[in-house]
Amino acid sequence: MSSAELSRSPGCLIEARDVVKSFGQTPALRGASVSAAAGEIIALMGPSGSGKSTLLHCMAGIFKPDSGQVWFDGTRLDELNETKRTELRRTAFGFVFQFGQLVPELSTADNIALPLLLNRVRRKTAYQTAESWLVRLGLAELGARRTGELSGGQAQRVALARALAPRPKVIFADEPTGSLDSLASESVMDLLVSIAREEGTTVVLVTHDARVAAYADREAIVRDGKVTAPLDPVDPAGRHAGAEVVG
């Protein structure tokens, strides 16, 4: 598919097409395809080992697919060299992982300012931005605390602020609530969805938790390294109108 062809998909910001990826002899993705529109929140669901995290990593340019294509905003991500992919990850993408991956020795404000400083934002501006995100995420009083002293829910909110601070076009969130209890999980997802909608940020969310996936606009099921045929619940053909929720 050419860039011109891709641009025919209105609003499509990021797309994986027939992506294949193996680790040694072990196939992880066997031709997975999925796309997300600008401002859309999609959930990649599936059983353990289905390939959903590998798909996210390929879409984010962390892994290079063995074959297939990854498009971001009209650019073939899979054809970029490591330097350019790193640059793109720093400027256009934000990441939230299960265990925050904050720097425990640094303060909360330092952690949020870090990606901005790496993007050569002036120090004063970076810390002002970090402060504004701390306020926005209800963490204003924690700016000076080391992240190693935070609770799991607080740490994930800081991770969220760090991911959002550079105003990325896409947030990749891999099991962002996997280590949290129900209430903390709800709080993190609420913030992620609210801010993504306000900012128009696309979110690619990996989760095995249906209650977390329900925060997304739609979900794609990954099974055996493939995304199962996308079935639109509001299919104009009404194919699924008969499906009833009996629970």
Binding site: P47, R211, A243, V245, G247
Partner: protein, 176 residues
């Protein structure tokens, strides 16, 4: 939901008119299924007959809605018993889902496709409930949570059943 016991519970809090009882019931328990006035007064009438509630004198204005109802000791004992007993867990399978899966297999239809469709319908409802939870009151959130946890349990069953379809198909003597 036991309407008579719920109304009795509301009466235990304070004596009330039928109209106020209905309004309070709808706010907390009715949620998309308001209690008809007729049912409120029929229930109050039965509770009065059974000695679980008493109706005061009709107040100016007339009509059953002008009576103030109060709970009796017998009614309070019923509420006490009801609230101290757990609801009977329902160990039976999700019979409609189960029946559709088994019948699909028996009839040589795609049970997997049915489960995928059901999963979509469940997820759609979960998204609706999640939005209600995000934007509604605490009572809305609690009720939405109850629905979400039940739907989640169904989804787990759907996923596990999807993983067992081949074995199930063998058992019913056909292919998924």
């Amino acid at each position: 939901m036991s309407v008579p016991l719920t109304l009795l519970g509301l009466l235990e809090r304070e004596p009330s008119h039928g109209y106020d009882l209905k309004r309070e019931y709808d706010v907390y328990f009715g949620r998309g299924k308001p209690l008809p006035f007729g049912q409120v007064y029929a229930t109050l009438s039965r509770l009065t007959r059974d000695g679980k509630a008493i109706a005061g004198e009709a107040e100016p204005g007339g009509g059953p809605d002008r009576k103030r109802y109060a709970i009796t000791e017998l009614g309070a004992a019923d509420v006490e018993t009801w609230l101290s007993e757990p609801v009977q867990p329902e160990p039976h399978l999700q019979t409609v889902l189960f029946s559709k899966v088994v019948l699909s297999l028996m009839l040589g239809r795609s049970a997997e496709q049915y489960l995928d469709l059901q999963r979509l319908a469940h997820m759609r409802r979960m998204r609706e409930l999640t939005e209600i939870k995000r934007t509604g009151s605490l009572v809305d959130a609690l009720l939405a949570d109850h629905g979400l946890f039940h739907l989640e349990a169904d989804l787990r069953w759907i996923d596990l059943t999807a993983a067992r379809l081949n074995a199930l198909a063998e058992m019913v003597g056909t292919q998924s």
